[in-house]
């Protein structure tokens, strides 16, 4: 029996993290540059930040979703402490985010606003000071990893730049690993509602609770109706042009390949965008097919790491969770190896079975959870984007 444990950080509140980030979190687009500047000066203390364009001039449903996503990202157990950097007049405020993070964890959180500090230079100076204090308070430099079981893990699944082999190689391999995580008592988040169109009936049939099945079907129906209501044919954007060049013809074909990432476990819960799973096992989060927005939602929901399958190749990473990039074919693996962590191409070439590759990927996952940096981490990829529901106002 394989040892399914890894080395992680146990927080004061019992949460388990696989990274020790000190997150400088901008509330809105206007404070993003300031937050990035603070993190750049405190990188040695473990600080990171990222740019985003949300947090202001949003209708209420978008405002709530942005708040939930930003707070969820701060609350992600891979984050040891948070400095929230606000502007002062935005409609997702720093104090709301602080309160929302505090409601989900007991990690140290501080906040500043540029308007109260008297401009960016003073805000940066003050922010650097606060980051250093947070680093000391959270003790991240002294934190040591402990052996943790996979039952504590929330694993996110993503596919981006799919090709016709995604559903034959990398996605089944990710699904094999997802099944092992579920069997070990962990949590798995499948996402991308658009990429369930044509395959939703198969996933719904795996929900023991009829309410979960109907929630899933309703979610897909709502997205499909929304697309139709625009009067624009989905085929203009899904599958994406790269998907089509890679041999995927229709959204149904793409979806039927996509759901292989979820493995074969029963579906336990359907989550709103950015929401935390309340159940162990396989869950589904309502996200768009957009890779960055989808991963942002799952990581805000507490995902520790992402298995990201790709047939076309993409450099995408995420700010607070490692992203394991899995090539669907050997050609991509040799072409874009610097951006990739694993290849499932051996399956199409007949060199490996799904279980062979799955075992190797599970080993890699345990290594990454234990601190091994993925390629996107090494390259500093920290893409972040929140799923927008309505217009900017």
């Amino acid at each position: 029996m394989r040892d399914l444990s890894f080395e992680g950080y146990v927080r004061d509140d019992g949460a388990v993290g696989v990274r020790n980030h000190l997150l400088v979190l901008p509330t809105c687009v206007c404070s993003a540059q300031c937050a990035m500047d603070i993190a750049a000066r405190t990188a040695s203390a473990g600080a990171i930040s990222f740019y985003h364009q949300h947090g202001c001039a949003q209708l209420e449903f978008d405002r709530i979703q942005t708040l939930r996503t930003l707070a969820g990202t701060g609350a992600n157990p891979n984050v040891a402490a948070v400095l929230v950097v606000g502007l002062g007049c935005e409609n997702v405020t720093a104090s709301e985010i602080v309160a929302a993070i505090a409601a989900q964890s007991s990690k140290p959180v501080a906040a500043i606003t540029i308007q109260e500090e008297g401009g960016t230079e003073r805000a940066i100076e003050r922010g650097v000071e606060l980051v250093q204090r947070l680093a000391a308070v959270s003790g991240i430099s002294g934190d040591t990893r402990q052996s943790i079981g996979l039952d504590h893990v929330v694993l996110a699944l993503e596919c981006g730049g799919s090709d016709a082999l995604s559903g034959l190689t990398a996605n089944p391999v990710a699904g094999w690993v997802a099944d092992r995580v579920v069997a070990a008592g962990g949590t798995v988040i499948l996402s991308e509602t658009t990429e369930l169109i044509g395959a939703e009936h198969l996933l719904a049939a795996r929900a023991p609770d009829p309410a979960v099945a109907s929630a899933l079907l309703d979610t897909v129906a709502r997205v499909e109706a929304t697309i139709k209501a625009t009067g624009v044919d989905l085929r203009g954007s899904q599958p994406a042009p790269g998907n089509i060049r890679g041999g995927l013809t229709t959204i149904e074909e793409k979806s039927l390949g996509c759901i292989h990432k979820g493995g074969t476990s029963p579906l336990r819960e359907v989550l709103a965008y950015g929401a935390r799973p309340s159940r162990k096992g396989l869950t589904f989060m309502d996200t768009p097919g957009h890779d960055v927005e989808s991963m942002t939602g799952m990581i805000a929901g507490g995902a520790h790491a992402v298995l990201f399958t790709t047939g076309r190749g993409t450099p995408t990473g995420a700010p607070v969770a490692p992203v394991i990039k899995i090539a669907t074919n050997d050609r991509l693996w040799s072409l874009m190896r610097p951006n990739l962590d694993f290849s499932a191409g051996g399956i199409a070439a007949g060199r490996q079975t799904v279980a062979d590759a799955g075992g190797m990927l599970l080993d890699l996952l345990l290594d990454v959870l234990s601190g091994h940096l993925t390629r996107s981490e090494q390259l500093g990829n920290r893409e972040f984007g929140i799923y927008r529901i309505g217009p900017t106002v």
């Binding site: 085929r235 013809t249 074909e253 070439a349």
Partner: protein, 385 residues
């Protein structure tokens, strides 16, 4: 078949040994097509010199082997000119207008032979020729082995080195083509041909009782010594592994469509001119993946070129890519009517927007989503939700 240049008038001869088999008539028609494109008169000749009715009695092989003397180097028109002419227009002259529905049992096919007293009436009735099954011919094929030396003597008597081999035989003739292999290897003087010679070959596809397919081996042996080969093959008659598939497996590539040929009671088939370059090696193969046994398509991880044999574990039929297929793209392994769902992963992935034939590249040009703005699901096929 040959072009006869001994007289002042050139003509294409369709030379055969008896004519019991309906497929000989069919091949005669193919030869007629070739003659048409060469712009030459056509002659149909039985070189056995035996009483025709003797064939029906089993006195000699009903299988037809035509080994005339003709080198393409002496052909009145170069092949590329023939091809150009093929491209230039339809072949109304070669398309049987009607078919006479002749069904077995048919005691004596000879009445439908060119040259028979009944032939003019048969031609008048059918437009060009009539075809069907002939149980008597099947039985006669079994006498082939005993006639080998006789066949060889016929080959030896062929006046000049042959560049055209026409092989015909009835369905279910397990021994007939085996007999041809030594003939092809030893008595057809293809070894005399220069590397740039063109050997017109017409091979009919038959599944043997043992399941083997030695016609392909025959073709490959010929190809090994013959250089470039031109041939005529039926596109689909009368089963998926038809003559064209066989030719493609042996490295031939489609050049032009010659016209349609009516097989009463069976199908309408299309005759195709194919060419095998001297440098072509065996059947090129493209690896493919069948995801689910119900699927209409396979995926080619590395893509493939037109004519490549699709090698997909779990797919029982022989399939060739109809055109170049990019890596990761799909090829149909079943016929799908326009409007029907196409299945992959055992599930509908959209609907065919036009008829999809076996071997076709399946992509946005013939398949569209049925969801989110697509044509919408129907009950056209199982799998609709």
């Amino acid at each position: 078949m040959s072009t006869d240049r001994t007289g002042t008038t050139e003509k294409v001869r369709f030379v055969h040994l008896g004519c019991q088999c309906p497929y000989t008539l069919w091949f005669a028609d193919q030869a007629r097509c070739v003659a048409h494109h060469l712009g030459l008169p056509f002659a149909d000749e039985d070189v056995t010199g035996r009483p025709r009715l003797a064939a029906a009695a089993g006195a000699f092989c009903p299988m037809q082997v035509m080994i005339p003397g003709h080198s393409p180097r002496t052909a009145p028109r170069p092949a590329d000119r023939i091809i150009a002419e093929l491209d230039a227009g339809p072949l109304a002259d070669c398309i049987p207008a009607r078919g006479l529905l002749v069904q077995e049992p048919l005691a004596d096919w000879s009445i439908y032979r060119p040259g028979s007293a009944e032939w003019p009436a048969a031609v008048a009735a059918t437009g060009r020729l009539c075809l069907g099954k002939c149980a008597a011919a099947t039985a006669l094929v079994e006498a082939v082995a005993a006639k080998r030396s006789w066949l060889e003597s016929v080959h030896a008597a062929t006046p000049t080195p042959g560049c055209l081999l026409l092989i015909a035989g009835p369905l279910d003739a397990p021994t007939g083509f085996a007999e041809l292999i030594p003939i092809a290897a030893g008595h057809i003087p293809v070894a005399d041909a220069a590397a740039d010679d063109q050997l017109l070959t017409c091979v009919h596809s038959i599944k043997t009782a043992g399941g083997g397919d030695f016609r392909q081996a025959l073709l490959e042996r010929l190809a090994a010594v013959a250089g470039t080969i031109w041939a005529v093959a039926g596109r689909s008659l009368p089963y998926p592994n038809g003559p064209l598939s066989l030719m493609l497996a042996a490295g031939f590539r489609e050049v032009a469509t010659l016209g349609r040929h009516v097989l009463p009671g069976h199908c309408v088939d299309e005759l195709v001119l194919v060419r095998r370059a001297a440098e072509a090696l065996g059947p090129p193969t493209a690896a493919a993946v069948l995801v689910h046994p119900d699927d209409d398509v396979v995926t080619l991880p590395d893509g493939g070129d037109a004519g490549m044999l699709i090698s997909a574990p779990g797919v029982p039929t022989v399939i060739y890519a109809a055109c170049a297929v990019p890596p990761g793209h799909k090829v149909a392994i079943r016929h799908v009517a326009a409007g029907d769902y196409v299945l992959k992963y055992g599930q509908p992935i959209g609907r065919a927007t036009k008829t999809i034939k076996v071997g076709d590249h399946v992509h946005t040009h013939n398949l569209a989503s049925a969801r989110a703005g697509g044509p919408g699901p129907t009950n056209a096929k199982d799998g609709g939700k």
